[in-house]
Symmetry: C2
Subunit: 202 residues, 2 copies
């Protein structure tokens, strides 16, 4: 009995489905995706990218959860992004510029990701220019998300940001600890605990 009736393995099938929702792909385009992306299993607490290294891969999350964060001068972590199923993660700046990264990418859960190198991604863009459009649209969507987050950060209190996080990402609550959420919101775990206590009372 076959687990996977498609001609692609299930990791690649997930990615192809994700890309097809942005723009339908033909068989050639699906084939090159399968050729250029490499699956990788990551254990909880394992790093796929480290500060000081040049970011070598663009990463698509098939299963699991990862975080990308900065470590400040006081050794405190600040979460820039979480990535779960169908999200992309990686230091885009370092990836394209080739300069050393200031970010870490670490698995929060055991995860399965698909990786593509810069050389292969550029080959993808060259041989199938349509992917420029696919990725342009993806990047535009990401910009809109970042704009919302910046406006939140400069205009609202920690409590308001937490309430918005609850509304926007309810499915993340079971998977991510409050320490991680606090680091994403830009408050301390202690203060997030106080926010939660206050909200529970009212």
């Amino acid at each position: 009995m076959y687990k996977n009736p498609s001609k692609f393995n299930s990791e690649i099938a997930t990615l192809i489905k994700h890309l097809s929702e942005i723009l339908p792909l033909n068989d050639n385009e699906k084939a090159i995706i399968e050729e250029l992306f490499v699956p990788r299993r990551i254990k909880r607490r394992q790093f796929i990218h480290h500060e000081g290294d040049v970011c070598k891969y663009a990463n698509f999350v098939v299963q699991g959860c990862l975080k990308m964060y900065m470590v400040d001068k006081d050794a405190k972590e600040h979460n820039l992004q979480f990535a779960i199923e169908n999200n992309w993660i990686g230091d885009l700046g370092s990836f394209h510029s080739g300069e050393p990264s200031k970010l870490y990418v670490e698995a929060i859960e055991n995860s399965i990701i698909l990786q593509i190198t810069k050389e292969n991604l550029y080959r993808l863009y060259d041989e199938f220019p349509k992917f420029n459009k696919v990725f342009r649209i993806m990047k535009e969507n990401q910009i809109v998300e970042y704009q919302k987050r910046i406006l939140q950060n400069i205009s609202s209190t920690g409590e308001e940001r937490y309430l918005d996080f609850l509304n926007r990402y309810p499915h993340l609550l079971n998977r991510i600890s409050n320490v991680q959420i606090a680091s994403y919101l830009g408050v301390t775990p202690v203060f997030l605990s106080m926010i939660r206590k206050k909200l529970a009372q009212s």
Copy 2:
């Protein structure tokens, strides 16, 4: 005596130069840019986009300075972005989704911009797919900028953010009031004044 020896007017020439620095353009590509972008003069304090409206144009700044901001429930403005020469500005989310915007775009100085409608931009992408690559790269650069800003917002104090602003955008200081800078940094004008006093003393 001709002011402008190029076959393009000077506004379009500025845009073509900007785009060519991302990816060289041939004559056909330059011609379609001239065809699809429309110059417009904007006076200080004039709006080119208003909350509640659908964003109809992508805007390239040839000369001058504009700001994009949100107004919160207490009628306070929060600056998401400044745009000077060679910057783009507009509510990307509303532009692509067709949903009403929550942002304003207003000129801080008398300005000259080039506008393109959604229909014409999509025509540009269709007829000259290369522009998908040009704009993909532009969006990626913008994402990197936004990532830096988010990390700053969640990891540093108002004073640190102001110092970083001074380093990063020294050329903006003569053009933008402290009220506007405070709104961009996410602090009150009163507090920015205190920061500046403290820095001047030390």
